[in-house]
Symmetry: C2
Subunit: 421 residues, 2 copies
């Protein structure tokens, strides 16, 4: 007798998984290793920026009061008493009609309150003494980058959960974060099941295929920001699979298997979940591909039973495993980023189920366009190469055509969407 | 006397740099290490996929000729002579009115030419013998995934220069690429110059700031796909800088320095280029920030003199260094990806130069929107944190307003644009 499974909707399945969300841990890594990680805490300014009144130009620091009489008709001369570059501080006390030649980035002497740009001053020497003259007046604060004008000490600059990009690296360095608090990547255990699986380096044999799901999932897990503990492949044998899975559960935060979740004669995952006394949250989702995607939990730990079919495996991971992993990494919008795009290719096939078609989203004249990234048969891995999104085509229609507006879910993304989609 | 420099347009500057483009080398890495690298060669299919006629469903493999009499009125019975799962090959020769129970992914026996899905067959036993019966006929090829239908041996599946994503990882595994040809990242040497620079772990001092450009550039170089050789920071002293730079040139493919390229009293890079007998391609670009960006070449090796100002440094790298590095990685469209977006914030400031404003591009109702990612002063690193693009605002206007269509250049991108933009 064929087992009859009751399919649930994609959104309901996502919600069932997200009930088991947990905050992840935070660890410290050196700033050099923090690029690409997720901020474990809000990033706050540890000082004002600038932390002293700084010259934004090459020029002369003076007291504005001494410039008041300067005009086109009245050239006013200053004695240049010091000459400093960025990184130096003048030790001179600047008096009336005195100036410090100062370079971009240098600290403006406390006794000065404005900077005359090099271009508007005339420099000259008389013997060993340098002078400069101007023909216009300046106000206090002219050409001064004031302490704290860019950032105030204590200000939150970047929120926890943000992926660290080069700009954030610059901020971390500016504020002295030699050690950076980052989200500790949850450890995702991974098994591929299937007697048909060969290792990548093995020669093909009749009836067997190379294990591509493990390599693909390792990259998907890395892309989402978690760590992988790969346990290898398992044959379709109940005892072998049960022992391996039961042993691995304790060592990981989430366990993913591929294959063995359908209703075939050698699909042992359902029986393994039963023997583990795991609660199956769902074992059929109203979608293609990936309808057999199964998720179970045991003491709050999630077991993802993804399809052995590469495309179904890929989709199942991104829809259901990605958001809970991103949540553990502290992301405030952990779900796949949802946008709309204009379909650029007819998709005539009717389907009772919602299809998640591997798709290529691109921009033309400022608008998102989408087309399938290959032939959409669920066993075709080739279409995954060019996929940077799924397009969701709800079931119950007679197909879709060029110009239709469809939902797309972005894969190469670190921004995400909030729930509900 | 202030040196007068002649600014050139951004596009002209990019072209001058790209004249020195060179093909990069290819190296082999294990498939585990290839995720995120750039394909060094076109990826070709090393076998057909599937490489045998495969069952796409759980069911029974039979000879279609034996089903021809089956109908609702005429149930036809088959003797089930074997039972195989994926990975197994039946050793039986299938004769008339015989069937092999077969699971998804298993090889269809050579003597069969179609598969009866489990759902449309009735299975029953008689003593030790299994039988199945059907009430409809099948044609040769029904429910068969034919050898080579997904990919043909020798077919080019993914082009050289493509960034390796999880889907490509799956393809590499499928075709047995245990060792993957990838572009060897060019080695980018990096110095930060400036007496004002402190290390990240040092306490702030009056007049000094922490070196944020190095950390930022290391991340930018990594993001673009190259390797960094970081030499540390240098004080604004001619001899020290000259010796360090002259020594480093031979060890790297491209040398980047930050700071020291303007016309300040302690900006020694122009004199260093002269002493090195390097040809300066340009030393002023008609843009903000980054107008002092300087590029020189010596024996065909490029020296990038980026501004010491963080934002100008950031922009200079992305506009001028990124495309030549991406070219060396084999990318066919190495330039910053250019799109158009709708401005969502007034930008009233007039400017004679084209501005490259750090910007946040996002999507609303399927259209790209853009806003500045922070206050646009070139010394404000904070705006870099949220920047995923630049918006280019050509000079010579009285400013820009909400609803204007502007060019944007995407930073978190691996697709790129061709030239000319």
């Amino acid at each position: 007798m064929l087992e009859k499974r009751k399919p649930i909707q994609v959104a309901e399945a996502v919600e069932k998984v997200m009930r088991y969300k947990q905050s992840g841990a935070v660890e410290f890594v050196s700033i050099k290793e923090s690029h690409g990680r997720y901020l474990g805490k809000d990033l706050t300014a540890t000082s004002d920026v600038p932390h002293f009144n700084r010259s934004p130009y090459d020029g002369f620091a003076v007291r504005s009061i001494d410039t008041k009489e300067a005009s086109l008709q009245n050239e006013v001369v200053f004695e240049v008493v010091d000459h400093i570059g960025a990184g130096y501080v003048s030790s001179k006390k600047i008096g009336p009609m005195q100036a410090v030649r100062i370079m971009t980035g240098a600290k403006i002497p406390d006794s000065c309150d404005c900077v005359v740009m090099l271009e508007v001053a005339r420099s000259f020497e008389d013997g060993d003494q340098s002078y400069m003259s101007i023909k216009r007046s300046f106000n206090a604060g002219d050409n001064v980058s004031f302490q704290g004008e860019d950032a105030k000490k204590g200000e939150v600059l970047v929120e926890k959960g943000t992926k660290i990009n080069p700009g954030i690296q610059a901020i971390l360095a500016t504020f002295g974060y030699a050690e950076v608090p980052v989200a500790k990547g949850p450890v995702i255990g991974l098994f591929a099941t299937g007697t048909e699986l060969l290792e990548v380096e093995e020669e093909l044999e009749d009836g067997k295929i190379r294990n591509s799901n493990s390599t693909m999932l390792i990259a998907q897990i890395e892309r989402v920001g978690a760590d992988v503990k790969y346990y290898g492949k398992l044959p379709d044998e109940f005892d072998t699979c049960y022992e391996a899975i039961a042993t691995a559960i304790d060592d990981v935060d989430i366990l993913i298997t591929t294959g063995g979740v359908s209703v075939g004669d050698f699909d042992y995952l359902p029986a393994i979940y039963e023997k583990l006394q795991a609660e199956v949250l769902f074992n059929k989702v109203a979608m293609r591909p990936g309808s057999v995607t199964t998720v179970a939990q045991i003491n709050g730990k999630l077991l993802f039973g993804l399809s052995g079919n590469p495309s179904a495996c890929y989709v199942g991971f991104e829809l259901f495993a990605r958001p809970i992993i991103r949540y553990m990494l502290g992301c405030r919008s952990p779900h796949l980023r949802k946008e709309t795009a204009i379909l650029q290719q007819d998709f005539p096939k009717a389907n009772p189920f919602t299809r998640f078609v591997r798709a290529d989203v691109y921009v033309t004249n400022g608008s998102l366009m989408v087309r399938p990234s290959g032939v959409d048969k669920s066993n075709i891995v080739m279409s995954l190469a060019r996929a940077n999104a799924f397009m969701a085509l709800p079931g119950g229609t007679r197909g879709y055509g060029v110009g239709d507006i469809v939902d797309v879910f972005m894969l190469e993304d670190f921004v995400g969407s909030n729930w509900p989609w």
